[in-house]
């Protein structure tokens, strides 16, 4: 009797593990089988031409470039803010000090705040300052969204650096600032993982940029211009009643899937290979 119950549950466990892992392949399969047919060179090398949204020619280069601008800009800006924070709570602040703990808690909470709230907040600030939807507003809002990811991931990487390391650096007479540089060098795999994770999150996010970056058919040439993004391009084209436009949404989804898969897999390999060189 005890055995039967255990076996039933074991079967259920294996089944649910299979279902959950299977959905990943199901999603990727669905998107590829629907979208590959409409994916061609024009799609990824041209910006929308006149009548694009009623099925005429052109591509989604505007959205690809826009997404890359926002993602790269936000990741760089995010690193600029989050590396000092990670250094402060790990090296300057005392271990398990109140400030370090409250910072970690704040970032855990900020990590859970959905992007639509960041988007609405970014929009409120923009209205307050009299700004219009622009590349810059998009970058800043997405930066807010990814700082928690950067801080949490890098914090974890820095925390596992052995204490002996910082002790020996200190004993050579180094200041905290100099120690920070050494510790950071030891945490490079973690930092790379953090960058790729936030890159993936930033490029896939739609709710944030909906309010702040707007949408446009051209490639932005300055920070004040609105910028298109891939997720929004998929979303808008999919809501069109015209079949051709919908097909292009599926093709755009394939492009986004490929980008995200490349980033995720690189992150996995990077964190594995880079950590080989660690002491």
């Amino acid at each position: 009797m005890r055995k039967i119950e255990e076996n039933i549950f074991k079967a259920l466990m294996i089944l649910s593990t299979a279902i959950i892992s299977g959905t990943l392949f199901w999603i990727i399969y669905t998107i590829f089988s629907k979208g590959l047919g409409s994916l061609n060179w024009d799609m990824i090398s041209k910006i929308p031409e006149g009548g694009f949204y009623i099925g005429k020619g052109g591509g989604i280069l505007n959205a690809i470039i826009g997404s890359l601008y926002i993602t790269i800009g936000a990741t760089l800006l995010g690193l600029l803010v989050s590396i000092p924070i990670v250094i402060y709570i790990n090296i300057y602040a005392k271990k398990n000090s109140f400030l370090a703990n409250i910072t970690r808690l704040s970032y855990d909470i900020l990590f859970g705040i959905p992007s639509i709230v960041y988007g609405a907040f970014g929009f409120a600030i923009m209205v307050y300052m009299g700004l219009k939807t622009s590349l810059l507003a998009g970058i800043i809002t997405v930066t807010l969204l990814i700082i928690p990811i950067l801080v949490r991931t890098m914090d974890e990487a820095v925390r596992v650096v052995p204490e002996d390391m910082s002790n020996s650096v200190y004993s050579l007479g180094a200041t905290r600032y100099e120690t920070a540089k050494i510790i950071l060098r030891q945490s490079i795999p973690g930092i790379v993982t953090a960058i790729l994770l936030s890159f993936g999150r930033a490029i896939g996010d739609a709710a944030c940029v909906l309010f702040t970056a707007g949408f446009t058919d051209s490639i932005p040439t300055s920070l004040n211009q609105p910028a298109a993004t891939l997720p929004l391009s998929i979303f808008f084209q999919l809501s069109s009643p015209i079949q051709e436009v919908q097909n292009r949404a599926y093709a755009a989804a394939v492009v986004l899937t490929i980008i995200v898969l490349i980033i995720s897999i690189t992150a996995k390999i990077a964190s594995k290979n880079l950590s080989k060189n660690k002491i």
């Binding site: 466990m13 990943l24 669905t30 200041t175 100099e178 999919l238 986004l256």
Partner: protein, 297 residues
């Protein structure tokens, strides 16, 4: 020379400290900014009325959030009902039964799943879940449905929150000391009995924390839900009714909100509602998880 180094150390320390303090205050700033924008609406009608009325007529300045709140609750509840048992079984399997080999294959897959952007879940929902509901599930229960329903939203959300629940649960299970399991097994309990009586009982607070975090994630998910829920401003009465969750409301109307008086304030109030609920849920579950981590180390 020594002084310059110390000076550098100090200056950078001050800058880093300021940045840390500033960045923590983002939490407060977020709440305050959204509250500030919702003041006009709160002066216009009472909080109780806003939450309990389901009259939504922006042109008449009638803003009742009841149907949107119910839409959010339906979708979230469905997603948790689907995701929690499946994730619990998977997490137990991966941490207690599965050979290392399988764990090494499945965990990266789950990580990959968590990296898929919401809009792609939405596309998949439209292509796969909607037709399944419309053609196979709904006809057994109701006469007509388009498939765009709270059930579709719940299913898509459930898949989106799997990775979050599983990764937290596995961490919680790993934090249960091995000696407790050994003690139970040495008394003659089977592995399953040990799981039921020791592992799960020891992890109750962790499971609660994971669930609360998952709820708050489901609460705020926007684009995917927007694509599959149907977005009719009504209180859903069955799984196959359309719903209109709060995040979808915000995302769908940002275009026209500046042209109707009070509308922007109403949408900011919706964002504030989301923020407050999610903030509380996150804070509670993070504190529980923090305690668990502290207990074992």
């Amino acid at each position: 020379m020594k002084n310059i180094r110390l000076l550098k150390d100090n200056i950078f320390g001050k800058i880093f400290f300021t940045l840390t303090i500033l960045s923590i205050s983002t939490v407060i700033l977020l709440g305050f900014g959204l509250y500030y924008k919702s003041i006009p609406l709160l002066n216009h009608s009472s909080l109780g009325h806003l939450l309990s009325s389901s009259e939504w007529k922006p042109f008449k300045e009638a803003f009742g959030f009841y149907s949107f709140i119910m839409g959010t609750l339906w979708v979230t509840a469905i997603s948790i009902v689907i995701a929690l048992p499946l994730s619990l079984l998977t997490a137990i399997y991966l941490s207690e039964y599965a050979p290392i080999r399988i764990r090494k294959i499945v965990l990266p897959l789950i990580e990959l799943l968590s990296g898929i952007p919401p809009v792609l879940f939405g596309v998949w929902g439209v292509l796969v879940i909607i037709p399944i509901i419309q053609d196979y599930i709904a006809p057994h229960f109701v006469e007509f449905t388009t498939g765009y329903s709270v059930l579709a939203g719940g299913i898509v959300l459930a898949i989106m929150i799997f990775p979050l629940i599983i990764s937290i649960l596995i961490e919680v299970f790993d934090n249960v000391p091995q000696e407790l399991r050994d003690a139970s097994l040495s008394l003659g309990a089977t592995q399953w009995q040990t799981i039921k009586k020791v592992l799960l009982r020891k992890s109750v607070d962790g499971i609660v924390a994971a669930t609360v975090l998952a709820i708050s994630r489901a609460f705020g998910e926007t684009i995917a839900v927007l694509m599959v829920c149907g977005n009719l401003a009504q209180v859903p009465h069955s799984l196959f009714d359309s719903g209109y969750p709060l995040p979808a409301l915000i995302a769908n109307n940002y275009g026209e909100m500046m042209s109707i008086p009070m509308y922007d304030s109403a949408l900011m109030f919706a964002a504030l509602l989301l923020f407050v609920i999610i903030f509380l849920f996150n804070a509670i579950s993070r504190i529980i998880l923090f305690r668990i981590e502290k207990r074992t180390t």
